[in-house]
């Protein structure tokens, strides 16, 4: 039976792993390669590097981090943050990434999804969606591509630029379009739940997962083992991603998998 995947997210800034609450107030969680090594031993299924403050100048630094992590693991490795062009994606893949995760860039130029899918295959293209429930969007990001707002409250409003910029998109509608354009997976993050440890947004995850035929990775809100079981059962997630719950040694990946297995959820032990 196909296992539900447990994915560790390394939010990296300036070569260091950081993790904040609701995308703000970042605190240092350590060396990405060392963390990847630990997760590999503990049985993680996949690793995602999100370069949270990536800039064009940071491309080389990012390649260094990717290569350092890739040396430690023989597992799927995805990279997101700062992938704005085909050249950024090529640099990440050249450095050792198996998949790239597009967020703001896909919203700005959806045709980039198709271009990368044609070049590397859909399995190499994740579209990351950051969404917030019923957001009242009063002040769209100034100078951004969406300055024509404010927008109506939607069930699941999509935000760009690490949750800073509102967009007119709904998560379900955008996930469908991304799939049609060639995305191989959706990484769905609840901004409301991110870093709060109050559980994944299962209703939102199920709405997106049921709307597309490609795997959906749930993200944002992991706090307990039960939260993972919930997002697989009720959220219909194909994979679940977490960061802080693993980084600070609060919970180990192996304990989580033992719990899920006992709960009847197929995982790789």
């Amino acid at each position: 039976m196909l296992s539900k995947r447990i994915i560790a997210c390394l939010d990296v800034r300036d070569g260091k792993v950081v993790k904040g609450v609701n995308f703000e107030g970042l605190r240092d969680a350590g060396d990405p390669a060392a963390l990847a090594r630990r997760y590999n031993v503990e049985g993680i299924d996949e690793v995602v590097i999100l370069d949270v403050t990536a800039t064009v100048e940071a491309r080389q630094a990012r390649a260094h981090t990717i290569a350092a992590v890739a040396r430690e693991i023989f597992l799927p490795l995805a990279v997101g943050g700062g992938i704005h062009s085909e050249a950024d994606a090529a640099a990440a893949i050249e450095a050792g990434a198996d998949k790239v995760s597009l967020n703001t860039a896909a919203l700005r130029q959806p045709e980039l999804i198709t271009r990368l899918a044609k070049r590397y295959g859909s399995q190499a293209v994740i579209v990351a969606i950051d969404a917030k429930r019923g957001a009242t969007v009063a002040a769209p990001h100034k100078g951004g591509p969406y300055e024509q707002g404010p927008y109506e409250r939607g069930p699941y409003n999509v935000f760009a630029r690490s949750g800073q910029a509102a967009t007119p998109r709904d998560a379900v509608e955008w996930a469908r379009e991304a799939t049609d354009r060639g995305a191989g997976e959706i990484l769905l993050t609840s901004i409301d739940r991110d870093g709060t440890k109050s559980g994944f947004d299962c209703a939102m995850t199920a709405a997106v997962s049921d709307a597309v035929n490609i795997p959906v990775i749930a993200s944002g809100g992991a706090g307990t083992f039960e939260h993972f079981a919930e997002v697989f059962r009720e959220g219909h997630a194909d994979a679940a991603l977490a960061a802080s719950i693993f980084h600070f040694n609060e919970k180990s990946v192996s304990e989580l998998k033992a719990f899920l297995s006992k709960s009847g959820i197929p995982v790789r032990i």
């Binding site: 299924d45 050249e94 295959g121 490609i214 795997p215 219909h236 194909d238």
Partner: protein, 199 residues
Amino acid sequence: MIALVDYGAGNLTSVRKALAAIGASVWTPSAPGELARADGIIVPGVGHFDATRGLTDEWRTAITAAVASGTPLLGICVGLQWLFEGSEEAPGVAGLGLLKGTCFTFTFPVNARQKVPHVGWNSLTMPRPSTLMAGIAPGTQVYFTHSYAAPVIDDTAAICDYGGAFSAAVERGNVSAVQFHPEKSGEAGLRILTNWLGA
């Protein structure tokens, strides 16, 4: 030296990295003629069967000749599918035809809530002993990412089930192939690559 055939089907970095980790020397031949001096040939692949068009008649002839002279061949992912006669994914593109059968896509009952592509870790069963899968226990999980699959045949060395059984690994003489990605399948994957190298 192991020849890693680059026909433009995506990313070879992780295959190179895994082979380096188990001590193999690898090069990417720039012309089919170079395959004559290979100690082993790997045909990798991600994405679409149509990409195997990049394996031109010259490459096909060189690979077939090397296999006939006893050089071990390993196909990975679409590289496995290409060893069969063809695929529903690209009906106009012929496979190498070393193995009998045509690759097909997954079919599930309506509302089964099963995703295609098949992405993630799934378990293997071994219908018979093989060099490639030596030391791999039944139930071992490996990493897959694909939308099409090859049928189970006499040469199948490992079976996976996703809406039906398909060939996860094949082995016939010096021709071997895996549908999963051994380079992304942790310790089990490295063991399988080591088995192939040692053969």
